[in-house]
Structure formats: C-alpha cells, structure tokens
Subunit: 323 residues, 2 copies
C-alpha cells in the first residue's frame, strides 16, 4: 500500500528528508550529504537511506516525493533553472530525476523558502490561514507568499525576493549590489555589520564591545542575542534597529498583499521578541486597512524541518490531486 510521502530539503551540503503519513503525521527522517555536482547520485544515496522507513528496497510504501531546492524552480514542469549552490543540478529536469530515483512515483518541486513556507502553512505557524507571507532571516533574507492557499511563484518563477525590497535607497550596501535592501539590515550579515559599526563608532556598551573584540569573525547573531537577553542596551538596540526595518518591510507587504498572517523564520528570528516586538510596532504604524492592523506577526514553528515537511505536504497534495 502506497501510504507514505517523502519530503526532501536539498541544501548545498546536506539533503534532509522527512517521511509523513496520509494524515500528515511524521513517520521519521534523516539526512545524507549533498553531491552538488551529481543529483542522481545524491538521490540514490537518499533512497537507500530512507528505504527502511518506506517498506524496504523498492520503496513499496512510497506514494509521492516532494523536493525543496534553492534556485529558480518551475513547479509545473519540475525544471530547475539557476541554482548557484548546486552547479551539477541546475538547468535540468529535476522533477523527472526525482521521480526516476524513487520508482517513478509523482514528484513535486518548490524553491527552498516556498518549501519552508508551505510546511509552516500546513503544519506550523500558518495553519488555518489562507494568505500568508513568510520572511526567513538567515545569512541572507528570503521570502515566500501564499495567496488563496497556493504558493506564489510568479511569471518567471522569481517571486518572493522579499529580502531585496529596498527600504532606503541610501541605506547600507547589500550583497545584491543595491543599497538599503531589507537583507542589509535584517540578515545576519547585515546585523553583524551594524553591530561592528556601532562598536567601531564608540556607540556600544563595554560588554558588547568586549564581545565583538573577543569573538572577532566568529561572532554570531546568537551571541548578540544572548547579550541582549541579559539586558545589554546596545545589543537590544541592534535587534531593535533590525526589527524596525523588518517592520517597514512587513508594513509594505501587508499594504500590498493584505495577508491574514506574517511568519518570521530563520536563525536571526531566534532572537524572538528582541526583533519581533519592534517589527510589530513599526509595521502597525504603517498598515492602512484597520481590519489588517491586528494581523498576527508570529515566529516560525518548524525550524530547520520546515522545508522538508512542506515538500512532503506538496507531494501528498500532488498525489491526491492525481488520484
């Protein structure tokens, strides 16, 4: 009986997977290393690793496979376009390769942030919503949008680049070449740059200055968040500044899209209310529709599992559509 679904989250170094049942409950999961030059080899290793959860070799219980993958993904054809971290995978029929590696079952593809958003939408912070915006604060800042229960992919499969919304054309430089993108403030690279600049300008507390001096290039947003959590005013201020810019982006998005929920995920969001409270205050001041002013701006719930869980959900729904 084909009653299980495999969700895969393909990163540049590891491929994580989740197996879920028809009702969405988790059966198990694991991970294998990514071979960024060879999709087929990676998928074979993954199939072997997951086989015990799927009824053994031949995977007799597998009904469908979903994959979330960084890059320009066409979810209709399964084509993967540009994907800088997976040079051997890009510009190929990845959906076909996935189906072939798993005994010909149906496959569903999404880009990585859309996978995570879909996971949150079905099983996490977006449950029960219809229109959802997600912003993922990692090294960079990614985004995704669900409208009427469906992932927005755009006319060229390029939608969701919320991290490159320019919030001040004279703002700090962004890796994309523009200035003042959300990512330049609220991604970990931007937040750490702002922290170091504050210290260099003499505006930090002695504790924050000491932390930056001690850790040097090993400094993480988690370190700054710990100091902020202990009440350090300068560290609190660093997250508040990032949160205000995040709130400007959220306010802009709510005015344009009017979702029923906004989810903030990614490593930087683990700072919790340090960044979410100033974000909510800034967004609320910008949102025009009175009906939208109280919309929940909430942390993601699924953490690093989100994209694999979302991919499994997409697989399940694709199989059920086809049935």
């Amino acid at each position: 009986m084909r009653d299980l679904y495999l969700g895969i989250d393909t990163g540049g170094t590891a491929v994580k997977y989740e197996v879920v049942a028809n009702d969405g409950s988790a059966v198990g999961g694991g991970e294998v290393p990514t071979d960024p030059r060879d999709a087929a080899a990676t998928l074979r290793a993954l199939a072997a690793d997951a086989a015990p959860l799927l009824g053994g070799a031949g995977l007799p219980r597998l009904a469908a496979v979903g994959m979330a993958c960084a890059g320009i993904v066409n979810p209709v054809t399964g084509h993967l376009g540009r994907s800088p971290n997976l040079p051997g995978w890009e510009n190929s029929d990845l959906g076909g390769a996935v189906s072939a590696a798993f005994g010909g079952v149906p496959s569903a593809l999404a880009n990585d942030v859309n996978g995570a958003l879909y996971g949150e939408f079905r099983h996490g912070a977006g449950r029960g919503c219809r229109d959802v915006v997600m912003i993922a604060l990692g090294t960079g800042v990614g985004g995704g949008v669900i409208i009427d229960g469906r992932l927005l992919v755009g006319s060229h499969f390029g939608a969701g680049e919320i991290g490159h919304m320019v919030l001040d054309a004279d703002g700090p430089p962004c890796t994309c070449g523009s200035r003042g993108c959300l990512e330049a403030w609220a991604g970990s690279t931007g937040l750490l740059r702002a922290t170091r600049e504050l210290v260099a300008a003499g505006g930090a507390t002695p504790a924050l200055a000491a932390l930056v001096a001690r850790l040097g290039s090993d400094l993480t947003t988690r370190d700054v968040a710990e100091l902020a959590g202990a009440g350090d005013a300068a560290a609190v201020g660093v997250f508040a500044a990032a949160g205000r810019k995040l709130g400007q982006a959220v306010g802009n998005l709510v005015n344009v899209l009017d979702p029923d929920r906004v989810i903030i995920g990614g490593g930087v969001a683990r700072a919790g209310e340090l960044i979410l409270a100033p974000c909510r205050a800034a967004a609320s001041a910008l949102i025009l529709a009175t009906e939208a002013q109280g919309l929940p701006i909430v942390p993601a719930e699924l953490g690093p599992r989100a994209a694999a869980v979302g991919a499994a959900s997409l697989a399940r729904e694709k199989a059920q559509e086809g049935a």
Copy 2:
C-alpha cells in the same frame, strides 16, 4: 435577449458607465451625478439614463451589472465597507442594491483601482498577461494586483495599497501619517510639493520659478509636464525624481510578485516618458531575477474609462460563470 453588460464607475461626484456586448465591444456609455448620500436614488437615475442602450425601460437586454467603487469592497458578498467619499453608501449590501436597481440581474463589485486594472487587463495595456501590477498616479497613488488572472483582494479586502509603500522612512510626509510613502513622491500632491520646494530653495530654472509664481495654487502636474516637454531641466528633474522613486517601488514589487507586466496609469502618468524612463531605469537596477529584468513597464491605455470597462468585464464573467 440578455446580451449586454453594464459597467459602472462610481466616483464621489459622478457615476460613469459603459455598456458592452458579449464579445467585449463597446456599445455606448454616459454618466449621471452621484448622490453620495443615496445609492438607490443614484442607481435609479443611472438605470433611466442607460435604458435606451439596454432595450428601453425594463432593460430587457441587460445580462449583468458590474460596479467599481472607492472603498473596502468584498467582491464575494457585494458588501461595501468604509468608503469616505460615499457616506450614504458605505457599510451596506451594495451588490444587492445594484442587482435590485437593475431588475435582479447578477452584479459584480470591485474597488475602483481594481476595476481600472481589470479593464486594462481585459481590454487595455494588460491584454494577454497573467500576473499584472498596476499603479495609478493620481492626487494620491492607488494600486492593484492580478495573480493568475484574478484580482488580489486580500484577507481583509485591503490589498493593493501600493501608494503607501514606504520607500524611505525619513522621506517627505504623506497624507496617511507616515513618511516617505510612494504617494508622497509620485502622487500629484507630492510632485507639486517637491516642485514648490525646489523653487523655494532656489534650485529651479527661471521658467519653472515663473510658472509656479504665476499659477500659485492652480499649478497642476500637466503644467510642469508641459514645461518639461519643452526641455526645461528643472521640470524634467522633478519628474525624474518622482520616476526614480516609482522605479524603486516597481523594483520592490517585481522582486516580490514577479508579474509579467507593470502598468502605470493616472493623471501624473500622462507625463509619459518623463516619468516612465527614469522609473524603468531605477526598477531595472533592482530586479533580481534575470528573467524578469526586461518586463514591460507600460502606460495605461484606457484612461478614465478603465474602471467602467473593467466593471463590465467582471459583470460579463460573473454572468458566464453562473450560466
């Protein structure tokens, strides 16, 4: 034979209408004054005015009615929520009132910018597209979004407020209470304020300074555009500055939504390439997806007829869905 569709564009002072045939071709149109305190009386006057185009009293050829209307519109129930310019119409079953005034035929409702966008989508600058963004540069700045051929209304019917995307939190004040909204630069009020400030600061040409002094509070963006069209560098610069900010908004929207076309309408857009060329240059510098970089950013085609034409299209499609 019920073979004609009526599209209505309700403004605060006049109600314009268009009658179209099954194939979308224009049959005729007209307008009657709006009674902002009495929807039923306005609709009765409109029905009498349009009757000769619709087979006479009893409107035997009318198949369905569509109405575009400023305010918070629920297109599913036909409810009109807040609508500051129509105090006697708001918070009512406007869809029901429209049907009742026109012999019980089906009715379709949309807000005004969505009506104009839908008109352009079906019969104007957005023909043949799937995902379209429209920005209407009037006194204020409105917006609308079509995704997968459908108007985006949002979870609280508040979507499309593109004019209040904050592009610089330290920018000029906006009527909404925020600072640095697109509207504060690219709406006619904002553009004229920038023109007067340029003159006051001594940065204008003698010709622009003289124009501003001569026309005083009667100055319009058309006057400034005429001077710019004659080559006045300061007047050209005013539109270029507005166009660059418009381009920042367009770039942000393209990165999030990835449409296949962006339409710029409204009175300020009659300045044409004076504002569109700098808009395109600024947007292009921000758009990430290489596939989206050449997307057309084009002027609206239908002018002030757009919303009535769009409302007629919505009526036709609603009737055909029900048939």
